[in-house]
């Protein structure tokens, strides 16, 4: 019953899984080598098209690891998820409602500061986040030293350094995905601490938002933030989603009643 709504939402995004297949979303800023990661992992097992109803490219690809099948969904490259563009809206809606078993966020090691912005936003939506710090070969060239252990502690999610061009670190990435998606070892991502005024506003809103009982669909704090910055399109989307889910549950119950009768 928990699975059903997710499945339906995935189909809404044009994602069809076959049998026991884990859905992995791939997010990242533009020009961070996201496509390289995607291509190296999936090889020729790709399917490209458009996101339903949008003129934005959608690429999906399969790969297997330890006899499990994974469907990798390449999200549009975005700097943020605050949905000012169609691309951001697609990425955000998929991470939020597509219920991927894990979301990989690809970062550019040479400009972590800007890239982490997206990562923090993804971590506000979902706990199933793996961060792939790509282009470490370029960072080495630029004499940048990154303390990955410390970064992992700061963010609370698995950090995998990679140089996708040379295939470096991709086995570790697959392993991390397996651990999270299959073995259900869930991370506990640290959350952004906002300035006092924003945090105060969130605190005021939280009881009202939690009372809605949407926690299973969306992180209440994230929802509170969207209410605060008046993201009307998102609020409408979540209302719509909540409605369809309730409908399904009602349908489910009615079915159950029929069976008992």
């Amino acid at each position: 019953m928990l699975q059903a709504p997710g499945r339906i939402m995935r189909e809404h995004f044009g994602i069809k899984t076959s049998g026991e297949q884990y859905v992995i979303a791939l997010a990242g800023n533009p020009n961070v080598g996201k496509s390289t990661v995607f291509n190296t992992l999936t090889g020729l097992h790709q399917h490209t098209g458009n996101w339903p109803g949008k003129t934005v490219d959608n690429a999906q690809g399969k790969y297997s690891y330890k006899d499990k099948s994974f469907l990798l969904v390449d999200l549009p490259g975005t700097y943020s998820l605050l949905a000012h563009t169609v691309e951001e809206e697609i990425a955000r809606d998929f991470i939020c409602f597509g219920q991927p078993d894990a979301t990989i966020v690809v970062l550019d090691a040479t400009s972590l500061e800007r890239n982490l912005n997206l990562a923090m936003q993804v971590m506000e939506i979902t706990s199933n986040v793996i961060i792939c710090v790509n282009l470490i070969d370029e960072a080495r060239k630029k004499k940048l030293k990154i303390d990955f252990k410390e970064l992992e502690k700061e963010l609370g999610v698995p950090i995998i350094p990679t140089a996708a061009r040379n295939g470096e670190g991709l086995k570790e990435l697959q392993k991390a995905v397996y651990t999270m998606a299959v073995e259900k070892v869930i991370a506990s991502p640290k959350q952004v601490v906002y300035s006092e005024e924003v945090e105060k506003a969130i605190k005021i809103l939280m009881p009202k938002v939690e009372a809605l009982g949407l926690a299973r669909i969306v992180n209440p704090k994230w929802l509170a933030l969207r209410l605060l910055d008046s993201d009307v399109s998102f609020i409408k989307t979540i209302s719509r989603y909540a409605t369809t889910q309730t409908q399904q549950m009602v349908a489910h119950k009615e079915q159950g009643r029929e069976f008992t009768l």
């Binding site: 000012h84 923090m120 952004v192 906002y194």
Partner: protein
């Protein structure tokens, strides 16, 4: 079913309840959320990243601290803009006169040839006095400023300065309730308004996009810059006195700033009236400063821009020159056709500080703004007695002989900045909006503003008897 409907209401209810929190805070919450995330990640990065070579990075940061600082950002922009114009005007004078001397000497040779083969006078008139002379003026007046201005502009572009300009102006666009990306489309408009209109595709909100399309015309394009520079350098800096070229540069800077100001005001008015809404924010990536590649700058500015504009000007100016000459020499009763039209336009034109010829030149310049000045000069030269001239210095005398004052020059520049978009831009507007109505709005807004601003300036000056 009632439960389903109720599910929607609470969310929107909470949303409307948050309104007072939004109103209570000074900066929009959405902006604060973004800046909070950035300061949070900045702290993390400081902890986990060690830069072994820190020199280069801090060098770039130091420049950025000045270039996009609240204090120095705007003055620096003004200074650079002014400097570019000054170099252009001061530098264009001598080559302009040299080119003029050569081309007009050749006109005498051409005339001599026509005499040798005993060509009819009208043929000599159409081809030499009409077409050739217009072409000579286009090249002499427009080529040198363009050949200086475009490389300078390209250097700024290649240095990575333009995205910083966008960064500086973002706040202003926010205040005008428009998208910060409009700054980029505006910069594109400096190259070509038609291209600027097409480039608004980068703006996602249809509302903000329409605002960007409708206001793009208020920055002077490649075609109108030479008009502005030509008038400024002919009328205000025709002698080689340093202070005069400085003054001309100042006036052009002022004109451009006015165009930007009008962009803001019109954007604001549009978004408070027929295109209501809140601005959306966006992430702007500031590229690293790069050393411009000499060859690329030269190629792009000379081939792509200067020669492109010049070619367009020539293609349109040649027939326009011929037509202007014919119009100037075909008489209806006592008046030539050109004098007839100019006479009809004169009362309206005078009210806005221009004269009938100038207004006619702008109307005939609809296909391309590049030919406004050539048509203007042609119509003065073809009708007036002053047909012999040797240098740019004498151009000023021609203009003065035709009743120009500083007000005429200033208002001509204002009109050039604000008037209706060229045919290509209008066509692009139609293609982008797919609506005749919005294209018409895009035509009528600048037209009304141009007439209104020029009228107010002219009447104020007349009233105080300043010109």
């Amino acid at each position: 079913m009632t439960t389903l409907n109720n599910k929607m209401d609470p969310l929107m209810k909470i949303h409307s309840e948050t309104e007072h929190i939004r109103l209570a805070s000074g900066t929009p919450i959405a902006d604060r959320v973004v800046s909070d995330i950035f300061s949070y990640t900045e702290k993390i990065v400081q902890k986990v990243v060690i830069r072994e070579v820190s020199g280069q990075k801090s060098w770039k940061d130091k420049i950025d601290q000045i270039v996009i600082s609240r204090v120095f950002g705007y003055p620096l922009m003004l200074l650079l803009l002014g400097a570019v114009f000054w170099i252009t005007i001061a530098g264009a004078n001598i080559p302009s006169q040299m080119i003029a001397a050569v081309l007009f000497a050749f006109q005498d040779i051409l005339t001599h040839w026509f005499e040798v083969v005993q060509a009819p006078a009208w043929l000599h008139g159409v081809l030499v006095l009409g077409m050739y002379r217009t072409l000579a003026w286009v090249i002499a007046v427009m080529l040198p400023p363009m050949a200086i201005f475009f490389p300078l502009f390209t250097i700024l572009e290649d240095l990575g300065y333009l995205p910083r300009v966008a960064f500086n102006l973002d706040n202003m666009f926010k205040k005008a309730k428009a998208c910060g990306k409009q700054c980029l489309t505006m910069c594109m408009g400096f190259g070509c308004n038609a291209a600027g209109v097409v480039s608004t595709r980068i703006i996602d909100s249809p509302r903000e996009r329409l605002i960007a399309i409708l206001t793009n015309n208020f920055v002077p394009c490649n075609g109108r810059f030479p008009t502005l520079i030509a008038i400024a350098s002919i009328f205000m800096a025709s002698s080689l006195v340093f202070s005069q070229s400085l003054q001309a540069a100042g006036i052009i800077t002022l004109i451009v700033l006015l165009g930007v100001a009008v962009t803001f005001v019109v954007s604001w008015i549009l978004s408070s009236t027929i295109l209501k809404g809140e601005p959306s924010s966006f992430v702007l990536e500031l590229p690293p400063y790069r050393k411009p590649k000499f060859g690329a700058v030269l190629y792009r500015s000379i081939i792509d821009r200067t020669l492109f504009v010049l070619r367009r000007a020539i293609v349109i100016a040649a027939p326009a020159g011929a037509i202007t000459w014919i119009m100037a020499n075909v008489y209806i009763g006592d008046l030539s056709v050109i004098a007839y039209i100019a006479g009809a336009l004169n009362p309206l034109a005078k009210a806005i500080g221009l004269d009938g010829f100038i207004l006619m030149a702008f109307i005939l310049g609809l296909p391309a703004n590049e030919i406004v000045v050539p048509i203007l000069l042609m119509s003065y030269l073809a009708t007036g007695q002053l047909t012999e001239f040797g240098s740019l210095l004498e151009l000023k005398e021609i203009l003065i002989a035709n009743g120009w004052t500083w007000l005429t020059a200033f208002n001509t520049m204002l009109f050039a900045l604000l008037h209706w978009p060229c045919a290509t831009t209008l066509l692009s507007m139609y293609k982008e909006t797919g609506s005749k109505k919005w294209t018409f709005v895009g035509f009528i807004i600048p037209t009304v503003i141009a007439f209104a601003v020029c009228f107010i300036v002219a009447q104020t000056v007349y009233f105080f008897g300043l010109a």
